[in-house]
């Protein structure tokens, strides 16, 4: 018994203390996967804020955009041109979603729209397989001049190994978030987005066009999906299995709140770091592999205490 308690409450911290370089390495890896979770969650938050739709298709949008990029390149389109074309494809997708799904379903209950995004998911899976085939593809990291290799940084009496691609991912994600934050807070379009999130009828009365706003948020979510797809694809490869990472965004959203951009970022990092630390220090006790479910447990515990998330708006219903 004492043996068990020791290995849960004492031993992991002893390990952290005796090998701080390993701790730093684990934290860094947690941070990197956290940033990627945050990017996916960000795509959800953008759409949820502006249209109240939980977009189940965000995961497949990541896969679809990455496949488009790689597929175009395979057909001889230069990498950067392929990237530009992928952006165009996501813009077309945003227009199509607005015209075909959102506009006819306006004023329907949220659950209907949620189901519609399920439909969109399976449509995109089918379309993707039809065009690009079902085999995993390798991300065109070299053609896009993404940095390869890694740095070994001496730290805390040991080394911390940092993949250059991870550093790039973190920098790019931070830049995207900063750009979105400026747009949301300083510009007309950002204000219009927040306005639509607060009150549809008031937004309409000042001349904001809902259709235009929806296209913009879906396009923004599409661009976030491209960035996620490239970064994630470069770490593993591009396949439909990636779609499952959309489910990883759920605990992040529960933690950060569905309507908060900073929440998505911080939630993502907490989940990412929590997973890696849990796996490394406590995983062996349970025969490893706890990384795949730990996030949901963290989210569940969190729900008990703060159902609206870290930064979400508290919803007070009038009875």
């Amino acid at each position: 018994m004492t043996q068990l308690l020791y290995s849960i409450f004492v031993d992991p911290f002893v390990q952290m203390g005796t090998a701080p370089d390993l701790l730093a390495q684990t934290l860094w890896e947690g941070l990197v996967s956290g940033v990627l979770y945050a990017l996916i969650a960000l795509g959800f938050v953008l759409i949820f804020k502006a249209s109240g739709v939980f977009n189940f298709a965000q995961g497949i949008m990541v896969v679809f955009s990455a496949l488009t990029l790689v597929g175009l390149n395979e057909h001889g389109v230069p990498a950067y041109l392929a990237l530009a074309l992928t952006v165009v494809v996501m813009l077309v997708l945003a227009f199509a979603v607005e015209r075909v799904i959102l506009r006819p379903l306006v004023n329907q209950p949220d659950i209907i729209l949620f189901m519609a995004t399920f439909g969109l998911t399976y449509f995109l899976i089918g379309l993707g397989e039809l065009i690009f085939g079902g085999d995993p593809k390798v991300m065109i990291s070299d053609q896009l001049r993404l940095p390869g290799g890694s740095y070994r940084i001496p730290m805390l009496g040991g080394y911390v190994q940092m993949q250059k691609i991870d550093i790039a991912a973190t920098v790019i994600a931070s830049l995207m978030v900063a750009a979105l934050a400026v747009m949301f807070n300083r510009t007309r379009i950002g204000r219009a987005l927040r306005a639509v999130a607060d009150s549809h009828k008031a937004a309409l009365s000042v001349g904001i066009s809902l259709e235009q706003i929806w296209v913009i948020v879906w396009f923004a979510a599409g661009v976030v999906a491209i960035a996620t797809g490239i970064m994630w694809g470069a770490r593993s490869n591009v396949s439909f299995a990636l779609e499952i990472i959309a489910l990883k965004a759920l605990p992040v959203l529960i933690l950060g709140g569905f309507t908060s951009i900073p929440g998505a970022i911080i939630g993502g990092i907490i989940i990412g770091v929590g997973e890696k630390i849990g796996e490394f220090y406590w995983g062996p006790l349970l025969g490893s592999g706890i990384e795949s479910w730990l996030a949901y447990v963290i989210a569940l515990v969190f729900l008990l205490f703060r159902p609206q998330g870290l930064f979400g708006e508290r919803i007070i219903e009038r009875l």
Binding site: R188, I189, R191, A192, R194, A202, A203, S205
Partner: protein, 260 residues
């Protein structure tokens, strides 16, 4: 008062509107002249708000048409109405609760801003300059409504009376030619009502804005308006100067009930 009322700026002709079997408006015709304060009164459920919603394009009538500034339309969308110069407030305040007073008012200027998406995304050149210009205009509205002290407060935290005022401010920020006010004084105390009356008169006087308002407080309606239209069960039962309407038998019957 030396106020000159001009030609009709808004003409509603034979508008009928129903939701399924429920008839909201029946062949209602109604005009508003430039620079006038026009009141719409009537018992609850008479169709007053529906009429405003038709004018600003939230509802599309099954019959009839609306012409604004001599442009006749069967079907207007809210976006087009706003573009044409119609602004409004709502019976149950519809503000952007999470945003500050300043941002709410800036939203009112959405249609006046012209910088494109790319400039907006990068917050570059024109977009930046434009923000500053519009900010100056919004500050004028803030001064006018005497809400300087709450400029940076999120509107969700303000008391009801001030929220109503901010909502008026958002409509004014659009520099509208026609302002639709749906019960601007509902639920206010006497002092707040007096302030709101003063603002409405000043808007009409200083900016020459034409105003259509729905109001239940009869003394307010009689004091403010140039002409009053009375609706009952979706029909217009009287229309004219406040004094005429007050004496009209049909109006008295509608308000007090009549033995059948």
């Amino acid at each position: 008062m030396g106020k000159t009322v001009g030609a009709p700026i808004l003409e509603v002709e034979g508008v009928s509107l129903s939701f399924g079997g429920v008839v909201a408006l029946q062949a209602v015709s109604f005009d508003v002249r430039e620079h006038e304060i026009r009141a719409i009164i009537g018992p609850n459920g008479a169709g007053k708000s529906s009429l405003l919603n038709v004018i600003n394009g939230f509802y599309h009538p099954q019959q009839g048409s609306v012409s604004f500034k001599s442009r006749r339309r069967r079907r207007v969308d809210p976006h087009e109405a706003a573009q044409a110069g119609i602004a409004r407030t709502f019976q149950n305040i519809a503000l952007f609760r999470g945003m500050t007073v300043l941002d709410n008012l800036m939203t009112g200027r959405t249609l006046k801003m012209t910088s494109n998406f790319l400039e907006q995304a990068l917050y570059w050149g024109a977009a930046r300059r434009e923000e500053l210009e519009h900010r100056a205009k919004v500050e004028e509205v803030i001064d006018f409504l005497e809400i300087q002290h709450i400029r940076k407060t999120p509107v969700g935290r303000l008391p009801y009376g001030l929220q109503k005022r901010v909502e008026l401010g958002r409509a004014l920020a659009a520099e509208p030619q026609l302002l639709l006010l749906d019960e601007p004084m509902a639920g206010m105390n006497l002092e707040e009502k007096q302030d709101m009356c003063r603002f409405i008169l000043d808007v009409n006087d200083q900016f020459g804005t034409t105003i259509v308002l729905i109001e239940h407080d009869m003394s307010v309606v009689m004091d403010l308006s140039d002409r009053v239209a009375v609706l009952d069960y979706g029909r217009k039962i009287a229309d004219g100067a406040p004094d005429e309407v007050r004496r009209d038998q049909a109006v008295i019957d509608a308000y007090l009930g009549v033995a059948h």
